[in-house]
């Protein structure tokens, strides 16, 4: 359907090209015109915004941006702030948990659904359903589930285990795990779907060949199917990684950073210091550090991925 629309759009250009041969700049003019908004967005909003932010992170801007340079002061202050260090630590724990568990659980669910079972559609819908909820709703739901007075702890105690205790959101040392549970519940369904699509893309003949050779199923998955699914894994990785770095709303809805500052995350630090504390410079410095961490991860990967192909 989409393809047909595209050809319909390009037809006038084709007619034009019959009369005279257009130069390279005007070839596929429609496509180029259509991508101008995105090019502008990328240049002005992404690149421009990034440069602007990094530049102003070296200033002492308070409520309004001012070009009054103070060198690396904002960064010194940032790395001496306990709240920022806690945020980083939380992000690392949260990141490791979501990366490992959403990949493992997502792949396992997909592999199980791929066994030509009955009611696959129904199960798929159920697993994917949490993804239809925003992080705010997810956060609120899990806030109630994990609340010791109403949620899981309360139910289990009512069943008779009166000493049962499960209140991650009210315990500073494990609060980040409580948040991770909610994130996994929300995000794993999508990973499962991506994995399932990847599994369906594997040629049936490969399975037949593996069966003829007498390779056990788990070995086929581990050594044949997963390596073949590399592009799917990379897509999934990018989606999960982006979700990790930008985590904000889930924390706000579940704990708003509490108890105390035990579940703070970098994105929340940026927001709080830019808007609550009216200290743009400090917020920009923190967001630059977030960008830097992404760059450190992305650049070596991109180098390996794209550099090798040349």
């Amino acid at each position: 359907m989409q393809g047909r629309e595209c050809t319909a759009l390009t037809q006038p250009a084709d007619e034009m090209s019959k009369s005279e041969r257009p130069n390279l700049l005007f070839r596929n003019l429609n496509a180029k015109v259509a991508s101008i908004p995105m090019i502008l967005t990328a240049m002005v909003v992404f690149v421009g915004g990034t440069v602007w932010t990094v530049l102003y992170s070296f200033t002492n801007s308070k409520l309004l941006p001012r070009l009054n340079f103070v060198g690396l002061d904002q960064y010194y202050r940032l790395w001496a702030t306990p709240r920022w260090l806690i945020s980083i630590e939380n992000l690392l724990i949260y990141g490791a948990i979501s990366l490992v568990f959403s990949l493992v659980i997502g792949f396992l669910l997909a592999a199980l659904l791929d066994q030509k079972i009955r009611f696959e559609d129904t199960l798929r819908t159920i697993f994917l359903y949490p993804f239809a909820l925003s992080f705010i709703v997810t956060g609120l739901v899990w806030q109630w589930l994990l609340n010791p007075d109403f949620g899981i702890q309360h139910v289990v105690r009512d069943l008779g285990w009166t000493s049962f205790s499960f209140d991650p959101l009210y315990n500073s040392s494990i609060v980040i795990y409580g948040i991770s549970i909610a994130a996994l519940w929300q995000g794993t369904g999508l990973i499962m779907c991506l994995m399932l699509a990847g599994l369906r893309g594997i040629d049936e003949d490969i399975w037949k060949a593996a069966r003829v050779d007498g390779i056990p199923m788990w070995k086929t998955y581990l050594f044949i199917v997963i390596p073949m699914m590399r592009p799917v894994f990379i897509t999934t990785l990018v989606i999960i990684a982006a979700g990790i770095v930008k985590v904000y709303d889930l924390v706000v809805a579940q704990t708003s950073g509490g108890p105390g500052i035990a579940s703070e995350v970098p994105a929340k630090y940026v927001y709080d210091y830019m808007f609550f504390a009216q200290n743009l410079g400090q917020g920009f410095a923190a967001s630059t550090m977030m960008l830097l961490s992404v760059v450190i991860v992305i650049v070596p990967w991109a180098y390996l991925e794209f550099g090798r192909r040349k």
Partner: protein
């Protein structure tokens, strides 16, 4: 009084005729007054403004000042200003004024003789930047109150404490009766505010000013402030079972007798009123925690962004006058639980606690509040520190004080 009111109404009509339009001018007013008592109070302001022939468009933003202020500021800096907006007077809107985004109200102020009627003088000082007046203070809110539930103490079988020290001593008895001694909500500003109150009450006025006004870091690391941290340590131990977030939920624990007391500003009184409780009978208030009877002259004020629309600018003037009108002042402050900014109004209807506050005000025992003394940046760092301190027992008093002193050293 009535005369002023009429003048205001006439001015409004004149403005309307001038514009040649029959419709009243809509003025959007943003604020963060959303709890029961606060909403009742703001309705009084809206009523008074509507009576001038204009229309108050209510722009309440839920979720306390911390949530509301960024929204207000981005609307003003983003070129979509409202007609008027609440801030705490002091330094919250300082940069907006310096950037020329706010309206200079000096003319309206001279006409209304604000310098004569507004007391204490420090209120108007909070609105003045470079000799020009930029906001209308509407009330005096003071943080220095300890609210006690008479019911809770009766249940625990201990007499009502007369000051903070007695309260701390009564804590074990309260705990034994299954009552949380001190309710402190989870929001960061509550624990940070409670500390500031302790600083002024346990440490005394001089200590408070030396730390926050002179920003003396060496003093903040010294033995005087160590005493205050000791008191804060007591407070966090007494508060450790409070599992609520919002301040009014914490106040509700005191209202229902589930908690013994709460350190909270006089806005808590509005909640007691909405719940139908009587001061002195159902609850007791101790200004300055019973140790140092001072009140801070913080509070709320309305700022007026610079608008291009002539009608709306006229309506802003009318609103500014209405807010300081004696009748509005009384109606609003009685509902809000705060003190009026004019000394010449009749407050016979005031209850026990408000009368205590008025008496302290008359004595002149006032201190400036942190909103006036510290930048938002420093306030936020302070909030982070005390949110952590109250939630994390492993953070020792000594470490916390050291961090506090560092914070004061870099404060602005």
């Amino acid at each position: 009084m009535r005369y002023r009111f009429l003048t205001a109404a006439l001015a409004a009509t004149a403005a309307l005729q001038f514009a040649g339009q029959a419709a009243a001018t809509d003025l959007e007013v943003t604020h963060w007054w959303t709890s029961g008592g606060e909403a009742a109070a703001v309705a009084e302001l809206a009523k008074a403004f509507d009576a001038t022939g204009n229309h108050w468009v209510d722009g309440a933003i839920a979720g306390s000042g911390g949530t509301a202020r960024p929204i207000m500021i981005s609307r003003i800096t983003g070129g979509d200003p409202m007609g008027a907006t609440q801030f705490n007077h002091g330094r919250q809107a300082e940069e907006l004024v310096q950037a020329g985004l706010m309206r200079d109200l000096t003319d309206v102020a001279t006409k209304g003789k604000w310098t004569d009627v507004v007391r204490p003088k420090s209120l108007l000082d909070g609105c003045t930047i470079d000799g020009k007046i930029y906001c209308v203070p509407v009330n005096i809110h003071s943080w220095q109150w300890l609210w006690l539930s008479n019911e809770a103490f009766a249940k625990a079988g201990v007499p009502l404490p007369k000051d903070w020290n007695e309260f701390v001593a009564a804590a074990p008895a309260l705990e034994k009766a299954g009552i949380i001694p001190l309710a402190v909500g989870g929001q960061a500003w509550q624990s940070s505010g409670a500390f500031d109150v302790l600083l002024a009450a346990v440490g005394g006025t001089d200590t408070f000013l030396k730390v926050y006004k002179d920003k003396d870091a060496k003093f903040a690391a010294g033995p005087e402030v160590a005493k205050v941290f000791k008191a804060a340590d007591d407070a966090r131990k007494m508060a450790k079972n409070t599992n609520v977030q919002d301040w009014n939920q914490a106040t509700n624990l005191v209202i229902t007798g589930k908690a013994g007391g709460q350190i909270m500003g006089d806005w808590a009184q509005g909640e007691f009123q909405v719940a139908g409780k009587t001061a002195g009978k159902d609850y007791t208030c101790l200004p300055g925690l019973g140790l140092n009877e001072v009140i801070a002259t913080g509070g709320d004020a309305f700022y007026f962004p610079l608008l291009k629309d002539a009608d709306k600018s006229k309506a802003q003037e009318v609103l500014a006058e209405t807010l300081l009108d004696p009748k509005t002042q009384v109606a609003f402050n009685l509902k809000k639980g705060s003190l009026p900014v004019r000394g010449d109004v009749d407050l016979n209807a005031a209850n026990d606690c408000m009368k205590k506050g008025l008496a302290i005000l008359a004595k002149g025992a006032v201190i400036p509040w942190t909103d006036q003394l510290l930048s938002q940046d420093t306030q936020k760092q302070k909030e982070d520190l005390f949110a952590e301190f109250f939630a994390k027992p492993e953070l020792t008093v000594e470490d916390a004080q050291k961090r506090f002193a560092d914070l004061i050293a870099s404060a602005d």
